[in-house]
Assembly symmetry: C2
Homo-oligomer: 715 residues x 2
């Protein structure tokens, strides 16, 4: 009976095996703790070495941050176990696995000591961590968890970086979901999400970086403009861009490979892959000309060749080593004297055995004598029955077959035993040498990470340029002032789903004199699409991307809010309408004059008059907020709302145009000034295949309603 010790407990947050991770997705292990309304969150991406923390002052923001991060695993103090957080997270897909940990793991002093030891410093201030406490406690809990999980010392978590939620554009869970930034709403998967459509990065680390940018769009004008300058540069330099991207394509996932090296999980083939990728660095550097924009120039400066690492691997390993680290055959000859000796020993003994057949044939005169090998007896001499009389005395009989007998000689067994011994010794030595080499390269993790990060960023910027060039995106003009003016804007995802030229672009102009747009128009005309595309264009601009439009002026937005078609959630016991009102309340409480609010069909889940009254009051509130109003797009079927434009100065009416031709409707998908006066619901029902008698009767009922005769008899 073999007793096996559990050597690693592989929870989702500590996986680094590339076969078990999506290449372009982050795999966050997070920890959260709160006291009163203050909270701290820390997160570690063990497969890349990312290690960060943040803190805040109200719990809604903590939930928002957790929803935004989507950790695969979340550590919470034991004391939280009284509440059922699994319900709060069931929204997410996949929902994080919750690990309740002892309060001691989160203890401030212990956490501080643990972090000091891990980061190799006596003063956390050097990392900008002065003044943090709950965040440090969460970070300490993560380290504690990693130690317990025995994943190997995560030395590649080389620094702990604090960040502030307020530095980034605010995106709540509903908005991330409604705008389908990371996953399509219906399929709950990546295809046909914004990320999917704008991601043409060439490396896994670039893909993850782009996702991170979409998760945290910027608010600082200069930072956005720095990114845009590089995208513009790459857009114009199409040949350079193409060469750059072609070279990037061949790179391995440097970040995750480095992590596996540090965690002693990398194989010889991994190191060879690293070497081959590092060999591309000089060529990549040649593609970074001196006239680069500042951000790119800074990144280029971080891109060292890592020749020492490259050469160390090249000098050591064979170019095509085996998969296993236990079977030898990993190292080049000339790398290690002891190893060379063992190899030459083996070779000599093998030669001797190879020559034995000829020698013994000559000595014994047995022409059919053969030297063979099998697993049971090792090497042996086989002599056919006919020649047995020629067998000399020093042959020792081992086995009798039907037509032959098998023999060994003392000399043969001695060589064989020496050969096997040397081979074992060689395997052991190679294993040891490989572990040393891997540790030695692991020491360079910080440098490898820096290079990987610079490459990732330049990959994203060139990829955004590539998308911009291929799809005729425009460079947004960002400004400190308020307003969103888009000329010929398109929806980035739907434009790609439709055949070329099939998407009808539209203009929008939100500014201090026009903060609230009431959008009316029939079903299927595309109101929801137009609303979302405005939000998506603002979002894209603030990550530093070009945008699907002919031109766009974007005054930096502090938050984007959306309220679009909610779903019943019977498991949580909430009705559609309650969810809708929750999301609306959230917007009304948090929006500022610098926010962008997108409301689609507020008040649809209740009776007509109740819904209209609520929609009306919500619109007025957003218009009046702080005397300036909030930039708002408000789509509605309540045509009555268009009357607001006569009462409030900053309200404008827009309608989505439709043409009627002999009873049929043609959707023009064009936004025009003014209010719609018809919804064409019955025509849409006919298009959808509702039986003709039902359509005819609906038309009749409609005419009766309009004539005011329905209430009596329905005719």
């Amino acid at each position: 009976l073999v007793r096996r010790e559990v050597t690693r407990i592989l929870t989702r947050g500590v996986i680094v095996d590339p076969d078990k991770l999506a290449a372009k997705e982050a795999n966050f292990l997070a920890a959260a703790i709160w006291q009163g309304r203050k909270w701290g969150i820390a997160l570690a991406e063990l497969s890349t070495g990312d290690f960060r923390l943040t803190e805040g002052q109200n719990l809604e923001a903590m939930w928002e941050e957790l929803y935004r991060l989507r950790p695969v695993e979340l550590l919470l103090p034991n004391s939280c176990q009284t509440e059922d957080f699994s319900v709060s997270f069931a929204w997410l897909n996949p929902s994080p696995s919750l690990q309740y940990r002892s309060g001691e793991d989160f203890h401030l002093e212990a956490a501080t000591r643990r972090l000091q030891r891990h980061l190799g410093t006596l003063f956390l201030d050097g990392f900008g961590l002065a003044g943090y406490s709950l965040g440090l406690q969460a970070a300490g809990a993560i380290l504690c968890y990693l130690e317990e999980n025995r994943t190997g010392t995560p030395r590649h978590l080389t620094s702990l970086i604090p960040y502030a939620q307020s530095d980034y554009l605010g995106l709540d869970e509903a908005t991330i979901r409604n705008l389908e930034i990371f996953e399509n709403f219906r399929t709950r998967s990546r295809p046909n999400s914004l990320l999917d459509i704008v991601d043409s990065t060439q490396t896994p680390m670039g893909g993850r970086k782009l996702a991170q940018w979409l998760r945290y769009p910027l608010k600082q004008l200069t930072a956005i403009q720095e990114r845009l300058a590089v995208v513009s540069f790459y857009k114009e330099q199409s040949l350079l861009r193409q060469k750059w991207r072609d070279l990037l394509k061949g790179l391995v996932d440097l970040e995750r490979l480095t992590a596996r090296i540090v965690l002693e999980q990398a194989t010889p083939r991994d190191l060879i892959a690293l070497k081959n990728s590092l060999a591309q660095l000089p060529a990549l550097r040649c593609l970074l000309p001196p006239e680069l924009p500042p951000l790119a120039a800074n990144l280029a400066a971080e891109l060292e060749d890592l020749t020492d690492v490259h050469d160390a691997i090249k000098a050591a390993l064979r170019p095509e080593p085996p998969l296993s680290i236990k079977e030898g055959g990993i190292f080049q000859e000339g790398y290690n004297t002891e190893l060379d000796e063992l190899i030459s020993l083996t070779r000599r003994d093998k030669d001797w055995i190879a020559r034995l057949e000829a020698r013994e044939k000559e000595l014994t005169g047995i022409g059919s004598l053969k030297v063979r090998y099998n697993k049971v007896f090792g090497y042996y001499l086989e002599v056919s029955k006919a020649n047995l009389h020629l067998v000399p005395e020093y042959f020792i009989r081992k086995q009798t077959l039907v037509n032959a007998e098998r023999f060994i000689t003392a000399e043969l067994k001695e060589y064989e035993s020496r050969l096997l011994g040397a081979e074992e010794a060689r395997k052991d030595l190679e294993l040891q040498l490989f572990q040393e080499l891997r540790r030695q390269i692991g020491q360079e993790a910080a440098r490898l990470k820096k290079v990987a990060d610079a490459l990732a960023t330049l990959d994203v910027l060139a990829a955004l340029a590539d998308i911009a060039a291929r799809r005729q995106y425009a460079c947004p003009r960002l400004q400190e002032g308020r307003g969103i003016r888009i000329v010929q804007g398109r929806h980035p995802v739907i434009e790609q789903v439709l055949p070329p030229g099939g998407f009808v672009p539209n203009d929008i102009d939100l500014n201090d004199r026009a903060t609230l747009m009431i959008v009316t128009g029939p079903n299927m005309a595309g109101k929801s699409t137009i609303l979302r595309q405005v939000a998506l264009i603002a979002l894209m601009a603030q990550i530093g991307s070009f945008v699907p439009a002919a031109a766009a002026d974007i005054g930096v937005v502090d938050r984007i809010f959306t309220r679009v078609g909610a779903v019943d959630d019977i498991g949580r016991g909430q009705s559609t309408f309650l969810v809708e009102m929750h999301e609306t309340a959230n917007i009304l409480h948090q929006a500022t004059p610098r926010s962008l609010v997108v409301l689609d069909e507020i008040g649809r889940g209740t009776s007509t008059f109740d819904g209209l009254s609520l929609a009306w009051a919500v619109a007025e509130y957003l218009h009046d907020l702080a005397g300036e109003g909030v930039l708002t797009l408000f789509a509605t079927h309540y045509h009555e709302l268009t009357a607001l434009s006569r009462l409030k100065p900053r309200v404008h009416n827009l309608q989505v145009a439709v043409a009627e031709a002999s009873g049929d409707i043609v959707f023009l998908h064009q936004l025009r000034p003014g209010a719609a006066n018809k919804s064409y619901g019955i025509q849409v029902a006919r298009l959808a295949g509702v039986p003709a008698p039902v359509i005819a009767r609906a038309q009749e009922v409609l005419e009766n309603i309009e004539a005011g005769t329905l209430d009596q008899v329905g005719f």
Copy 2:
């Protein structure tokens, strides 16, 4: 360089590794083919040996069948590749991976020959397959695919069973989704689905069987009543049930284990697990008394003890064999003479080596002499420096250490080499014996499957009884006549989510004189829940389950249709309203007087008057259908629809009751006769946290609307 041949291509449909499968979920590999409007589908569950086919006359039904089956992998003829089916399947989660296969794989003659060969028969008629063609073609394509995948010969697909879609209650994709039968709508995962809540099966195969029953509820009265009789029996016999379920709990997944045995993937530990489970069969049979209801008695008759299989394993294998089949130690002594000899050889040589230390100590007088072993030199004698002068001549020096030297003797090396040889031979022999034993047990796959299937069915029936007993479910009275009468019905899922006693039960009575119920009432009052619970109770009754109600009379229903809260699907370019109308059109075209239709808020996605007109016409159509009407529950915010009860004989109005107390509303969740006159939307908005000024203004606007003064100035 080691060349590795690809030995198996593991696509999702051919996985049988239990670590990669959800224990209680089917893993269907399906194939489909159509000509004109005729179609055939075949499906195989390689991990259980299930192999079936069906055919039909219109393509809508084919899509419905595929949506219902949810194959993980779908084979289609190459000629279909022109259409993009991935879009059609993106709805599903997970969506099946599509494999386009050569048309030849689907060729009728080749398929017939392939099936004859596989099933070992010259006449497929014996399997009831006379007259099938497209279905056979699909089945042939599956076999062809399995051959190519080299998964091992799937001999456990012992029969190919035809079934007819029309034998089962119709459930389209929207209804499966809306009723949350297999997954929660919001999380798209199993928790808080109907299946999750009613599944208390004790075995994996029982869990899969229950899912299959929910996927295919019955329409034949006698078949349903047979199941109900067993559930009733087990419900009453609570002690017997408890014992039965306790014993079942320990069983392994007999179906999937049998599959792995046939596919030569089972390990020695798998066989031991099989043996241990088979050992329970006699005890299980003792728990099947003679007075069982007919269905259970038939199943009991199928439950043989399989003593021969049990004994064959018991006689052969050690009770705790190693994981690997290559390392020996698998078989008992006494099982095989040759093996016993090898074992005794090994033992003798080991003994000899063990005694060597004492012997050589005595012979040489070296008190500190030790016999040791390492991987490089094998066994050796170690002598400390101080005693080197005592070393005899026949010691051969192998290695010098700081304080000792290591020696071998010719005799030691001879024993060692013999020992290693015997150990290798033993491993080889055990591997070979194990493969033989596994093949031999694989021959009994059909018997194992029959027992597994009987156990699965009895597991489900006892599990349904368990749920029924624990939750006070009632036995539904099924009947041929039309009508659904439920007394004190509850929603099976929400009842469980709420604290005990928190759910308010309700009555419903649909019959020939009352086919159409118009349900009005405020938001959050629970209209959607009540509608769904009626559909769920009918569905549960038709799988043979008790139902969450005090009493229920269910006239067998041919289809259940639902239209509940659609979601925008921008990726497919469809608006909410269009999806809603599509689903409505589908219902109007297919419903019969024996169907149950649940409509929740038809016409909400368009303007008020258009929506009301459509809702009105749809209600009339369902009322008038075939002069009998369809059993319909119609929830609406259009209070105007309640006027229908004055115009049409079979329309009844129901409202969900609410009490008002000093401006606050109290939801009573009670269904009462009559029409509601208020929606309480503004109150709900206040509950949801919409800011007070907005609420006050909405109230004001509402009063203005009701007073008819809004159009002018909004005051």
